[in-house]
């Protein structure tokens, strides 16, 4: 375990500020305020899966601010909690800011008591005061501060109310003076164990209590730090104490802590009985209503379809493609013909011209696709997703979808990564970490690779299918969803392991702040431009070269019979599929171009759309899968998805022909 590493002495000691607290209490917002840096803020518990670090300064003092994954208890249960707890051990010269949801005092104080026990300096930021006030929870902060012996600040982070007091308070942060005693037998054991413990960044008392709670994550540390004899003694004490109680010690200790928080709450808070009503509350209830929840879900998806599929992928893309960028060969639009003309006059080298504005030109295809086609769609999706996320709709969606997810061996929680997959498969594959069991993570990664199109691709698909008979879209949807459920159902049987319990905290429905959504969307677009556009250009370059040396033609020739026989598609579609591996949306963009030029019949559009939706995930996503699950699994996933896509596409083509359907 790394927390015992000695800290290197740097000349200028920069103090650490560590933000800890329950999930979804506003840590990320406060991190942003303190550092001026943006991290993804969302109204969904458990989304901070990575630790963010940033810098803050006040009156010449420099700090490093660390945002940690949300925790419920400092007795670690999940990997997130181990991460957070270990940071507390590791960062010796640090001040903790406990960020709390003021309306949930009990859960807040459970953590506070443990921090007090550890004897680390901390301050308590009681955030979300607006919501607490709305619910008539009155907290006597002066009294709370006095009882805890630490500074306490009420804030409303989203409107920056009270947050200016945080940094000035850091220098004065001190260890809490609050102490309480456990049951005599436990106290007795704590005393005895303390005697065997070496010095430690946190109080021996708290370590002793963790040991009594049978915190397995400490075992390794015990092995390293203690003599086998000392270890044996401690184990003996724990065994003896355990015998005194019918329940596991962990539960006994937790119970006592809870009783203590209750006592504190009675002292400092008055909760008037306020009826939990109001528009947002009722709206929140309706979103997860067994009956009304479904039409609302359909309405949300329809809205998304119109916004992303019709408006962004249709109107906006047409405008950018047709009017702004255009096509040099056809002489439409402004930018492409203009650049082509300029190039002709300054660099009269055919190769360079081809490289930039040719059939696979970096500008005529790479930049044009990335900016004119994909960007508007991605932006629209991220904006829409931001609203879903910040309003608190997503967890409600998880409730509605829980049943369906169960068929595929998942639970409602899987909805978040799957929906995020509509934004970007790579991002979503990373976020599969929020799921509890390895099996579920594997299932979600597989399904993301198989059937979840990213927003740009989805937008394009929606845009293209919108031109067909109205039921074409539903055939596509039915096949893709059906494939996912079928594959999930079978994989659930094949992959060993268990589905975890579905427990999810439902945050209140909130009016999303437009500013936060704008900032978030911009941050995600920036991420897209930085991560995706280079891959676009690389992909174009790749195609350009294999076209020049003739490999593309060879691959096309090889793929042509497959394309023609199984899918009844023209050989040029191969290019799109190859591009699709580099970026899924890129492939769909190629198909859209072909459709715009009238190279595909309506049936061919549907078949190619279904096949490319199920086709390989993009390179970026493949890399993430390799990183998360290893090369072997990634190759297996790819091989399966590849074969499956063509089988389903072939079956669809066959069915359309056999039934004589003309779309």
């Amino acid at each position: 375990m790394s927390f015992i590493k000695q800290k290197k002495k740097s000349e200028e000691q920069i103090k650490n500020i560590i933000l800890i607290g329950n999930p979804n209490v506003g840590k990320s917002v406060i991190f942003g305020i303190l550092t001026g840096q943006y991290v993804v803020v969302s109204n969904y518990p458990g989304t901070t899966v990575e630790i963010s670090r940033g810098n803050a300064g006040f009156h010449g003092n420099k700090y490093q601010v660390i945002d940690t994954p949300g925790i419920a208890n400092l007795l670690p249960m999940s990997t997130d909690e181990v991460v957070t707890r270990d940071i507390l051990f590791e960062e010796k010269d640090s001040v903790i800011i406990q960020v709390a949801d003021s309306k949930n005092l009990a859960r807040t104080l459970l953590i506070t008591l443990q921090l007090a026990e550890m004897k680390i300096p901390f301050i308590l930021v009681m955030n979300m005061m607006d919501e607490a006030r709305e619910r008539r929870i009155n907290i006597d902060f002066k009294k709370l501060s006095k009882m805890l012996g630490t500074q306490v600040f009420p804030t409303v982070a989203i409107s920056r109310t009270g947050t200016d007091k945080i940094l000035p308070a850091i220098e004065k942060a001190d260890v809490s003076t609050y102490e309480f005693k456990y049951d005599p037998f436990i106290e007795d054991a704590v005393k005895k164990i303390e005697g065997y413990l070496p010095d430690f960044p946190i109080s021996k008392r708290s370590v002793a209590i963790m040991l009594l709670s049978e915190d397995m994550s400490l075992n390794k540390w015990l092995d390293e730090k203690l003599t086998p004899q000392g270890r044996e003694e401690i184990q003996g004490i724990i065994r003896d104490t355990r015998k005194r109680y019918p329940d596991p010690l962990e539960i006994v200790i937790n119970k006592e802590r809870l009783q203590n928080t209750d006592r504190l709450i009675k002292e400092v808070a008055v909760i008037e009985k306020a009826p939990r009503k109001g528009f947002m509350y009722n709206a929140g209830r309706i979103c997860m209503h067994p009956v009304w929840g479904v039409p609302i879900l359909i309405a949300v998806l329809t809205l998304m379809y119109f916004f992303v599929g019709k408006f962004a992928a249709g109107t906006v893309v047409d405008f950018f493609m047709g009017t702004v960028f255009g096509n040099a060969v056809e002489g439409t639009g402004i930018i492409n013909p203009f650049i082509a003309r300029v190039l002709e006059s300054i660099i009269p080298i055919k190769f360079v011209q081809d490289l930039l504005v040719g059939e696979y030109g970096l500008i005529s295809v790479g930049i044009t696709y990335a900016i004119a086609i994909v960007l508007p769609i991605v932006a629209a999706f991220f904006f829409f997703f931001g609203i879903l996320e910040d309003s608190g709709y997503l967890p409600r969606l998880a409730i509605i979808a829980n049943r369906v997810c169960k068929w595929a061996g998942l639970n409602g929680k899987a909805v978040l990564p799957l929906i995020l997959g509509l934004g970007c498969g790579a991002m979503a594959t990373i976020s599969a970490r929020i799921l509890d069991s390895p099996k579920e993570r594997m299932l979600v990664i597989l399904l993301l690779a198989l059937g979840v199109p990213c927003s740009a691709q989805l937008g394009l698909i929606m845009g293209m299918l919108a031109g067909l008979k109205s039921y074409a879209f539903f055939i596509w949807l039915f096949i893709v969803l059906g494939s996912m459920i079928l594959v999930g159902f079978i994989a659930n049987k094949l992959i060993p392991g268990e589905t975890s319990d579905f427990i999810l905290e439902i945050p209140p429905l909130r009016f999303p702040s437009l500013k936060n959504i704008a900032v978030k969307t911009l941050a995600r677009i920036e991420w897209y431009l930085r991560e995706a556009v280079p891959i676009f250009l690389l992909a174009t370059l790749f195609l350009f070269f294999i076209d020049k040396v003739g490999i593309l033609q060879i691959i096309r020739d090889m793929a042509a019979p497959v394309m023609a026989k199984i899918l009844s598609l023209p050989p040029e579609v191969t290019d799109s599929f190859m591009m699709g591996f580099l970026r899924r949306d890129y492939g769909a963009a190629g198909l859209l171009e072909m459709a715009r030029k009238g190279m595909l019949s309506n049936n061919q559009i549907l078949v190619s759309m279904v096949t490319i939706t199920l086709f390989l995930p993009c390179v970026a996503q493949m890399f993430v899968i390799i990183k998360e699950k290893g090369l072997k699994t990634a190759v297996a996933v790819a091989a399966f998805v590849f074969t499956f896509a063509f089988i389903v596409g072939g079956l669809l083509n066959f069915a359309l022909n056999a039934l004589g359907v003309v779309l």
Partner: protein, 243 residues
């Protein structure tokens, strides 16, 4: 052979006293006989002929004289009938036995196949007071896990109006109802911690908001959605608004 009074007394006394009694062996034997008669009666078998036909009945035929002598049953035209004393005694035994079965399955999740042996022991040793407490705790259940009726006791009669059980699984609350958590019957510690970290602890007050498509409950100011399986492990006492 001991007389009835002494036996009754031994039933009322705690286990250690019973152990001291030498007569315990015979005691349980009589108890088993009375129970067998009760169960056969539930199946409509009440005559000596019936007894002869069914395997279990033969034991009773062998002991008819003993039971008659103890004034627990009487015979009339081949019909075996309990005396008032016998009826009460048998009924209490059955009640204790089946309540124990209920307790073992509902509270402790012991599989049905393994409840018989402990139930047979408890039925001889529980005092009436303890039995009624268990009955109230379980919410005056009307049948055993095998679906046979549990004879009601005094406690049940007093509460005939509120048939609502005292301690029920949280899933049994209707949407909008509130309960105080009594215990969480899970052996999975991770689950327990998980629940605990969300504020679901004994003594906590929960409100059920909805049950479909997924159960959503309210604890403090937190709304939590969870699987049916989890919610059925949480046992609560229903709280009505008037107290």
């Amino acid at each position: 052979m001991i007389d009835k009074d002494e036996r009754d007394q031994s039933l009322e006394s705690p286990l250690c006293d019973i152990c001291k009694h030498h007569a315990v062996e015979i005691d349980t034997e009589i108890d088993e006989l009375l129970e067998t008669i009760w169960v056969l009666r539930e199946k409509g078998k009440v005559t000596e002929n019936h007894y002869r036909e069914s395997g279990a009945g033969n034991v009773i035929l062998d002991n008819l004289d003993r039971l008659k002598k103890m004034n627990l049953i009487y015979l009339k035209e081949g019909h075996v009938t309990f005396t008032d004393g016998g009826e009460k005694h048998a009924r209490d035994l059955i009640r204790r036995h089946r309540l124990t079965e209920r307790m073992l399955t509902d509270l402790f999740d012991i599989p049905r196949g393994r409840i018989e042996a402990p139930s047979c022991q408890f039925e001889h040793i529980l005092s009436e007071e303890v039995t009624d407490s268990i009955c109230s705790f379980l919410g005056h259940p009307s049948t055993c896990p095998h679906g046979r009726p549990i004879p009601p006791g005094e406690c049940c009669k007093k509460l005939t109006k509120t048939i609502t059980p005292l301690v029920i699984p949280l899933v049994d609350l209707m949407p909008g109802e509130k309960g105080r958590i009594v215990f969480i019957a899970t052996k999975d510690r991770r689950r327990l911690r998980r629940l605990s970290s969300l504020g679901i602890n004994p003594e906590g007050i929960v409100t059920v908001n909805q049950k479909l498509p997924t159960v959503v409950i309210h604890v403090d100011e937190t709304e939590i959605a969870m699987d049916h399986a989890l919610v059925s492990e949480i046992y609560v006492k229903r709280i009505t608004d008037n107290g």
